[in-house]
């Protein structure tokens, strides 16, 4: 059968893997988001040890490959009694990794808000905490959207690395099918196509979100 017939036939199976890919992406980016904000705030507003720890965390996770991080979680922990499933290890690895990048994006966004606004908030009697919550974060979260969109797409693509530790996501499905019919190249062409479509759809959706929450009159930097 030709390429398109093949594609048509394997699509359902591949879509099963796609669902897992999307789950991996959604869970890990959320983990990364929560952890990332904490790291950014810790780095900027925390005391010496906290700030140093956050900086160190960020440096480590950004300076080492995702694959190695996943391998550590999946193969490195069992000897110590902690046995994670490949799915959980995948989410954990992707999430911890993403947190480091997100922390840097948040930090940039927070720092781009003029210090004057912080001063003004303190001047009317707001505590540091209230200022961060009501003045800094609402703006930072808007400013960070382009970078965050990049990060989401990045996570979507790199969820494929979880294949290496056995997670049943799209790549794994592809390999499985290809191993049966030996048409490796064509199968992965379809896989590539699915990723392309997924990335496009997510990009579009995020663009709409950015437009919705825009502050009138304020131009945000365009992301590439």
């Amino acid at each position: 059968m030709n390429f398109f017939e093949l594609a048509y036939e394997i699509l359902p199976a591949l879509l099963k893997g796609t669902v897992v890919t999307l789950e991996l992406t959604a869970c890990s980016i959320s983990l990364g988001f929560v952890l990332g904000i904490c790291l950014a705030l810790g780095r900027l507003y925390g005391n010496r040890p906290v700030s140093a720890f956050c900086a160190g965390y960020i440096q480590f996770f950004r300076g080492t490959p995702l694959l190695v991080q996943l391998l550590i979680l999946y193969y490195g922990l069992p000897p110590y009694g902690i046995r994670l499933s490949s799915f959980v290890a995948g989410i954990l690895g992707l999430g911890l990794n993403s947190a480091a990048y997100q922390a840097e994006y948040f930090r940039g966004a927070i720092q781009s808000i003029s210090r004057g606004q912080m001063m003004a908030a303190r001047a009317i009697g707001m505590s540091k905490f209230k200022t961060i919550l009501n003045i800094i974060l609402p703006q930072a979260l808007r400013i960070v959207i382009p970078s965050w969109s990049n990060e989401l797409i990045y996570t979507l693509k790199y969820s494929s690395v979880a294949y290496m530790i056995g997670a049943p996501e799209l790549m794994a499905q592809g390999k499985f099918i290809a191993a049966e019919n030996f048409r490796y190249f064509e199968v992965f062409l379809v896989v590539a196509f699915i990723y392309l479509v997924a990335v496009l759809v997510v990009s579009r959706a995020l663009n709409m979100v950015e437009r919705r929450v825009r502050i009138p009159g304020l131009q945000m930097a365009e992301s590439i």
């Binding site: 003029s114 606004q117 003004a120 303190r122 009317i124 009697g125 707001m126 502050i215 009159g217």
Partner: protein, 256 residues
């Protein structure tokens, strides 16, 4: 003997150094309730720093400050509470960019003053009306002119019902034709009895509403006195030179 009750602000012997450079070398003065004092001096003499010490946005190296008898500089003072009684207007306005004019004025009332939303909105609208911007309530800072932004920031400060208003070169970042509207608001405020300390070069304003001009140079008060005295008959040569210079630049004309 001045009645301690009517002294709103008392500043005693403030010293502040940045690195090895000391910008404030022992500043002391008092402001009675309802008075307006204008601080003048060459750039970089620490005038802004001095203002920021008053609400402890900057911590002085030495010296003490009292607001209505409460020591601002004391480490144990609840500074957030004190700041609610002091309103500050900045050279760069510093409006919250993600909030409309109304929200900018309202947020302090709701989050700090713990006022209920409806009451806060009424009060905020009242302050906006006071500065002449009732119809711009829904506009965002990026949509307003500099003069309008500054007036909103004044409304924001006034909403907290402060006992003292601090103005840090409020018109220096404005285009010339927008300065008038802000000075007018400030003039009305002074005439209505607000206690104010203003750092500014606007001599027209100083001459018409302030009780005393304080001239600071090189970190010390060179001279202070009522505007008539300083302009007609200053004690020090430096005062005369400086006043001449800025009068040339900023005009001695009375503003309406």
């Amino acid at each position: 003997m001045p009645d301690k009750k009517t002294i709103t602000l008392k500043v005693a012997n403030i010293h502040k150094a940045y690195g090895i450079e000391e910008v404030l070398k022992g500043i002391s003065f008092e402001v009675k309730k309802g008075e307006t004092k204008v601080i003048i001096g060459p750039s970089g003499t620490g005038k802004s720093t001095l203002l920021r010490c008053v609400n402890r946005l900057t911590i002085p190296d030495a010296g003490r400050i009292w607001l209505d008898g409460v020591e601002v500089t004391h480490p144990r003072t609840d500074i957030n509470k004190v700041r609610q009684s002091i309103g500050m207007v900045f050279q760069d306005f510093n409006l919250f960019s993600h909030l409309s004019a109304l929200d900018n004025v309202r947020i302090g009332l709701i989050k700090v003053g713990k006022m209920e939303k409806r009451k806060a909105t009424e009060e905020a609208m009242r302050q906006l009306a006071r500065v002449g911007l009732k119809d711009k309530a829904a506009s965002y800072p990026a949509e307003l002119s500099g003069g309008q932004q500054q007036r909103v920031s004044i409304a924001r400060a006034l909403a907290m019902k402060p006992r003292l208003m601090l103005f840090d070169e409020p018109t220096s970042a404005l285009d010339p034709e927008l300065i008038g509207e802000v000075l007018e608001v400030m003039r009305d405020l002074a005439e209505s009895g607000m206690t104010m300390v203003v750092v500014s070069h606007e001599m027209g304003f100083a001459r018409s509403v302030c009780n005393e001009i304080i001239f600071i140079e090189n970190g010390v008060i060179v001279e202070q006195g009522p505007p008539e005295v300083l302009f007609e008959n200053p004690e020090h040569q430096r005062t005369k030179e400086f006043l001449c210079k800025i009068s040339e630049l900023y005009g001695k004309s009375e503003r309406k």
